[in-house]
């Protein structure tokens, strides 16, 4: 019974790790980083990376968190998860950015400075996906020599040079035409990003064809979700997951997510601490499963669900699930994994031999 797991996620995990390694070297200091400090953005070559660092914690679901603190964990954060709060603060940033843009355009002359200013401009723009574009840009610096490598952008450098030349002459038209071409460049950057994301798109170069593929992919994913929910509905009547025991009796309201965040932040090195923290959780789980087993009417599948969930997700081949679920399930995960028979551990020495014979 093998789960068909897309190999993409494994590959992308490796890519993400490599990207993390790349990005962690430069700019180690975050003490004086303010995400909306335009000056800072101007100075740093890659404001992207620090933004991702600062907001890594936000991915856990804290919508209004915007602290400069970094969790310091090495698990890979995606290049594509932009600043959540920036989408809320975009008017402020956009106003500041427009002022900076014109001054930057007037002063920049060399190509390298132009590129930096474009990066900064892009990083200050509305949607944070541009940060991801910067990332992809810097990552693929071997593939692209500068900005004009890809075919949709081949015309653009010439146009941009003309435009910047015009801009120096006619300051009235500068903001408008720059805006258009910046927009177009952003769009092409994102198309390239999507090209990597959507499978089988490497050959297609046109915008319309790409959009077609993206549409098809989104539709197929949505259909897959429908289908899987149907299958889950067919299977579900048998399941009776004891959520309270799984998650330590946490409330439904996600506002107490802060309790789960320390769990998420733990790497494998801190498992002792997690065991201490989930000592009570472990107790609950044992109690819960033992109750379930001792009661004759209850479906023993419930007790199995804890460990089988973990073991099955393990079967998928992604160890990343493993580490997080270990933190959730605590010791029971390890106990249950080898045998997948929780009551073996619970009932001690009474039945193990018998069970082994049976199995």
């Amino acid at each position: 019974m093998q789960c068909l797991r897309a190999p993409l996620s494994d590959l992308s995990a490796l890519e993400g790790q490599r990207a993390c390694a790349e990005w962690q070297q430069p700019g180690q200091e975050q003490s004086d980083y303010h995400p909306y400090d335009a000056d800072y953005c101007m100075q740093s070559l890659c404001p992207v990376e620090t933004a991702f660092r600062a907001l890594h914690g936000c991915n856990g679901g804290g919508e209004n968190e915007n602290h400069g603190n970094v969790h310091g964990s090495n698990d890979c954060f995606s290049n594509a998860w932009p600043d959540i709060v920036s989408s809320m603060h975009c008017p402020v940033v956009g106003a500041a950015a427009s002022v900076e843009e014109t001054s930057v355009n007037a002063s920049s002359s060399s190509s390298s400075r132009k590129r930096k200013s474009e990066n900064n401009r892009r990083s200050k723009e509305n949607s944070g996906g541009s940060d991801g574009k910067d990332d992809s840009n810097c990552k693929r610096i071997k593939e692209e020599t500068g900005v004009g490598a890809a075919t949709p952008e081949a015309k653009r450098p010439n146009k941009r040079k003309e435009e910047s030349a015009d801009a120096s002459k006619e300051n009235d038209k500068a903001p408008k035409s720059d805006y258009i071409h910046v927009r177009r460049e952003r769009i092409s950057q994102r198309m390239k990003y999507l090209q990597d994301l959507v499978p089988g798109c490497s050959k297609i170069t046109g915008k319309a064809g790409m959009l077609d593929e993206i549409i098809n992919y989104v539709q197929s994913l949505q259909r897959q979700v429908e289908f899987l929910s149907m299958k889950l509905a067919a299977v579900n009547p048998m399941m009776d997951i004891n959520i309270d025991s799984l998650f330590g009796g946490r409330e439904i309201n996600p506002t107490c997510k802060s309790a789960s965040i320390p769990m998420i932040g733990m790497s494998s090195g801190a498992i002792d601490q997690s065991y201490l923290q989930f000592g009570s959780l472990q107790h609950d789980m044992f109690m819960g499963s033992s109750d379930l087993l001792l009661r004759p009417n209850v479906n023993p599948a419930a007790a199995v669900s804890d460990t089988s969930l973990g073991s099955c997700l393990n079967v998928n081949g992604s160890s990343v699930w493993n580490t997080n679920l270990q933190n959730v399930y605590g010791v029971e995960f390890q106990l249950g994994r080898g045998t997948a028979l929780p009551f073996q551990s619970l009932q001690g020495n009474l039945l193990p031999n018998n069970l082994k014979m049976e199995m």
Partner: protein, 195 residues
């Protein structure tokens, strides 16, 4: 390109909580009803785990349009429900962009009057953009570049959702099979002990 582990974890947790909230496993409901409840749980979990984005707000807004979903949404989201339904400030920027876009189109139109294929290509792109706007939740109120950005984010989350649901499914099926085999165990055990 990969979603974060925190996201996956939050997603899984939210989905299981959602299943519990809508009591899909205990209540006796029809097949279609159960399927809808599961899908609703999954979508809400995805939106909650991702945080505040245009598409997540659009998704929740779309879900709350149906009355049957509202109680579930209120239960899961709590006080965030009201704040999520408020319009985002960034939507105010759109009118300005449209004016500039229109002016730029006029300029480009004059430049490319002779180039008919460019016009054709642009209309094709326009059509597809419209369709993409329909697919991505909350897409109607986005402009070109942010639409692509949200699409990127949405695709990543959808992929994670599919992976998660797939693994849940295999887990349930596996445990179901085990439970079937275990039901036979007590009988075998009794026979062994008696010997």
């Amino acid at each position: 390109m990969q979603v974060t582990e925190a996201f996956k974890h939050a997603f899984l947790k939210q989905m299981l909580l959602g299943f519990q909230a809508s009591a899909v496993s205990t209540k006796s409901m029809g097949f279609q009803e159960r399927k809808n409840a599961i899908k609703l749980s999954a979508d809400v979990a995805m939106a909650v785990a991702r945080g505040s984005r245009k598409w997540t707000r659009g998704l929740i807004a779309g879900l709350s349009e149906e009355r049957q979903n509202r109680s579930f949404l209120r239960l899961i989201l709590g006080e965030q429900y009201e704040s999520l339904l408020k319009p985002c400030h960034s939507s105010w920027k759109i009118p300005r962009c449209k004016k500039i876009v229109r002016r730029s189109l006029r300029v480009c139109w004059r430049k490319q009057k002779k180039n008919q294929s460019g016009v054709l290509a642009r209309t094709l792109v326009e059509k597809r953009t419209q369709e993409l706007k329909r697919l991505v939740p909350g897409g109607e109120s986005m402009d070109g570049s942010s639409l692509l950005d949200e699409t990127l984010d949405y695709v990543l989350s959808l992929r994670a959702q599919v992976d998660l649901m797939q693994s849940l499914l295999t887990t349930f099926e596996a445990s179901k099979l085990r439970s079937h085999s275990k039901r036979r165990l007590p009988e075998r055990k009794a026979s062994y002990v008696s010997k």
